[in-house]
Symmetry: C2
Subunit: 504 residues, 2 copies
């Protein structure tokens, strides 16, 4: 018997040490990320530069030791894969929260983790600018050091990178929630081995992501009301469909048709699968424009813009131009789950307002940085309903579901429907927790869907002009959990809490 076989034989069902080893490498990498805001701090002579250095050091030591001692020697197996994915977002939030606490900007570690998870999960719900349940007044966004603002945006951007790779390269292999559908569409080699495929795919897709970020940055920067810093932060937050802004009033602060248009366009692009963008940039226009999900997404977004703008024009007496500007921005912001704002949709006439509420359950395309249930699942749910009707009329027929020329097999149909049911159950339970803390129906529902769908702004006390500071700490941890659950396609995280996962 060879040594590797013995090791393999002795290897436990779930090799926690290997999992820790991989998490270590991610934490180590986060150390480098933490040095970037430090550079910003040093350039702008902000005293907080050292908090980033300390945080980075902790990340290096912690991550480095974990990796050194538990260096993974074998391929990850499926259960370990789930643990790694779920714990990555949690551990990186726990470590990435350090600068806020070490600098003393946030006295509460809970708040710091909330803000970091909100960043990394591309949610964009903030606890800045409001009073916490312990009576501390968290600082206003505009009063934060530039380096801290940058760290928030960067968390978005890194989170977005993570999600692209996760949905297009890792989840399909793990078989989550119908994500197998996109395996074929991803660029890169199609090997069975996880690591080389993921690395190759990641490089190609991140190229597109970085390029788009660069272009948006330049387009924003040329406008006089945006300096390079605002432009870069908003480019980060847009491509990640994150939604953190450097202004308390979000994009409304810039009050510019040009800026609104650029951001609307890039939010829309960020809501399309990066695999599709990759193909388009390779010159494969046919794949891009024939992709059913992209077309459905465009259709739904287009119709929603028309409907919501019409409501603003007819019932809120906006001019046609303003109606389109604000309607389009808010629709795209919510459909893509970005959560930027240029208008308070809670003040709209109930029709436009409720229409937007329904879009909270949409989500962008799979393989984009958007959260929510996503367009492809809605397509399957809708097609399935029609099939169900057909089945009643022809009880014995075998009726397949097709999207484009692809047949969706029965397992994936069922998985997608299960995803939808589970999504709504988690949404309802999340809202119940908020109600336990004393929030009314609208606020409870709003906070729950805003966090689970990684949108950011919600409804009621958590509307687009509010923040999440006031929530009791226990509630914040529940929302932290919901952001994570939503971001990782529900099954990934919840699986870990089922007996099936732990059974031999």
């Amino acid at each position: 018997m060879q040594t590797s076989s013995i090791k393999s034989f002795l290897r436990p069902q779930i090799d926690f040490l290997t999992v820790l080893g991989i998490l270590g490498s991610f934490i180590f990498f986060l150390g480098f990320a933490l040095l970037t805001p430090m550079i910003i701090a040093l350039i702008y002579e902000e005293k907080v530069w050292h908090t980033f250095l300390s945080s980075a050091s902790i990340a290096f030591v912690m991550g480095g030791s974990l990796y050194y001692f538990f260096k993974p020697e074998q391929e990850l197996r499926i259960r370990e894969g789930f643990l790694v994915v779920s714990l990555t977002w949690l551990f990186l939030s726990l470590v990435g929260a350090l600068p806020f606490v070490i600098s003393g900007i946030l006295p509460s570690y809970t708040d710091a983790v909330f803000e970091t998870m909100s960043g990394l999960s591309t949610t964009g719900a903030t606890i800045f600018g409001g009073e916490t349940s312990s009576g501390f007044m968290n600082p206003q966004i505009e009063s934060l050091p530039m380096s801290m603002l940058f760290w928030r945006s960067m968390a978005h951007w890194l989170g977005g990178m993570g999600i692209i790779v996760l949905t297009l390269a890792i989840l399909p292999l793990l078989g989550i929630g119908g994500m197998q559908l996109f395996q074929a569409e991803s660029p890169g080699p199609t090997t069975d081995k996880l690591t080389p495929r993921v690395q190759e795919t990641a490089k190609l897709l991140w190229g597109v992501y970085v390029a788009f970020t660069g272009i948006e940055f330049l387009l924003l920067w040329v406008h006089p009301s945006m300096d390079w810093f605002d432009a870069l932060n908003h480019a980060f937050a847009t491509l990640a469909t994150g939604g953190f802004s450097t202004k308390n009033a979000s994009i409304q602060a810039f009050d510019s048709v040009y800026i609104d248009s650029v951001i609307t366009l890039f939010m829309f692009l960020a809501g399309i699968s990066f695999a599709m963008h990759f193909r388009l940039l390779r010159g494969d226009t046919q794949s891009f424009f024939n992709n059913r999900e992209t077309r459905f997404y465009t259709l739904i977004t287009g119709i929603s813009i028309v409907v919501v703008s019409a409501s603003l024009w007819l019932f809120n007496e906006y001019s046609i131009g303003s109606a389109l500007q604000y309607g389009a921005f808010q629709v795209v912001s919510i459909v893509t789950t970005t959560g930027f704002g240029t208008d308070d949709y809670e003040l709209w006439y109930s029709f436009g307002s409720f229409f937007l509420f329904l879009l909270f359950f949409a989500g962008g395309c799979a393989g984009s940085t958007g959260g929510g249930p996503k367009m492809i699942r809605w397509m399957i749910i809708i097609r399935n309903s029609f099939r169900e009707f057909k089945q009643i009329v022809h009880p014995k027929a075998v009726l397949p579901i097709r999207i484009g020329n692809k047949t969706i097999d029965a397992d994936i149909q069922r998985t997608v429907l299960s995803f939808f049911a589970l999504y709504l159950i988690v949404f309802g339970l999340g809202a119940l927790v908020m109600a336990t803390m004393g929030y009314d129906l609208e606020s409870s529902i709003g906070a729950s869907i805003a966090c689970l769908g990684n949108i950011g702004p919600g409804w009621g006390e958590f509307g687009p002009t509010d923040n999440y500071a006031q929530i009791p700490y226990a509630g914040k941890w529940v929302l932290i959990f919901m952001m994570m659950v939503g971001r990782l396609e529900i099954f990934t995280v919840l699986l870990i809490f089922t007996p099936a996962f732990w059974k031999q």
Copy 2:
């Protein structure tokens, strides 16, 4: 070729005349039903007695002619069955609304149809006691003639009878939304012919229904604050899980622990499948107590009573006794979709209130008179989620779902999940229509689920102390449609609007 073969050959795909013939027989039967409130009117010397006679005459002439000219000669086929089922509720509402209009009590035919559909669908949403959009003040419930109150309750009772037969004898044969599951549980002969089986089953189940109504009537009547009239009306409305009361304040008007307890008990019983009651009365206690759906329903109701009562006790400072009395009543009223009230749940602390809101999506057992998605579907949805997690860990395993010792096959699983998705889509669109009319998020959601789930009272402007008078007429027709869609298990009605239904 024989004559019958020629007829059969010439028979169109969907034989509308046969459908009309059957509807005629139902309308004719409704004529007899309309004579019952006339007797009440004659006894109590109410002037409106003639409106029931006129309405009955119209029903006799209309129903009689339809039946006479289009007398059905052949067995119904599947599509015709769907048309008959859907149109029965609609046509009977259109005709059953006549007394309200002929008497001049309701100047609006829309309001009259709303009230009648609300009766026949066992919803219990009322337009009495409020001002309509055209400025007319609809009379208070207490000012209505006894015969009119009786007609409302009787509509419930007849609707409940219809639903028991529909869900236990007809829908299983038509293959709607997983209802095939209950085919085996229904009493009566198991022939393939629709008519004899339905008639036999109906007789047996209605016996139970009538017996329970009688017992509740007696138990209520013995209490001094209820005369025979109130007792009978409330017994009708309870067994049908309807919710119309003879008092504007609903059951709260009687202010009695005894009455609350009796009604709570009978609402709970009405939420159990009448096939189960039938078995129990036959002495088959094992079937009854081993039935998984009945047990799940009891468990969910029990837990909910404890949770809601605890919330009332802890946060609303009710005494333990009152907390249980009001908590149990409201929980059972909502879970069974009855909609009777002894307390305004909108005034409760947010936790108890939101918990009750979640129960708006429960529904009683299949084969009961309750509306909503129903317990068996929730059981399948929950089991399916667990299976889905197991499937991720064992991607290649074939994992069945079992409820008790019954395996739920894949088609039924998918149908149940599709039902759930479609239910929520209809719910969302219904709420959107309400938002179009200017109602806020809570009221829109409330009215939509209250009508779709056949509950009655909703939220916001349609809470337990409000009514549906104020809604513009177009909105009332949408809600009439939603009560019908919800009552007939979604697929039955919507099917008629799909191309699949009309295609050769």
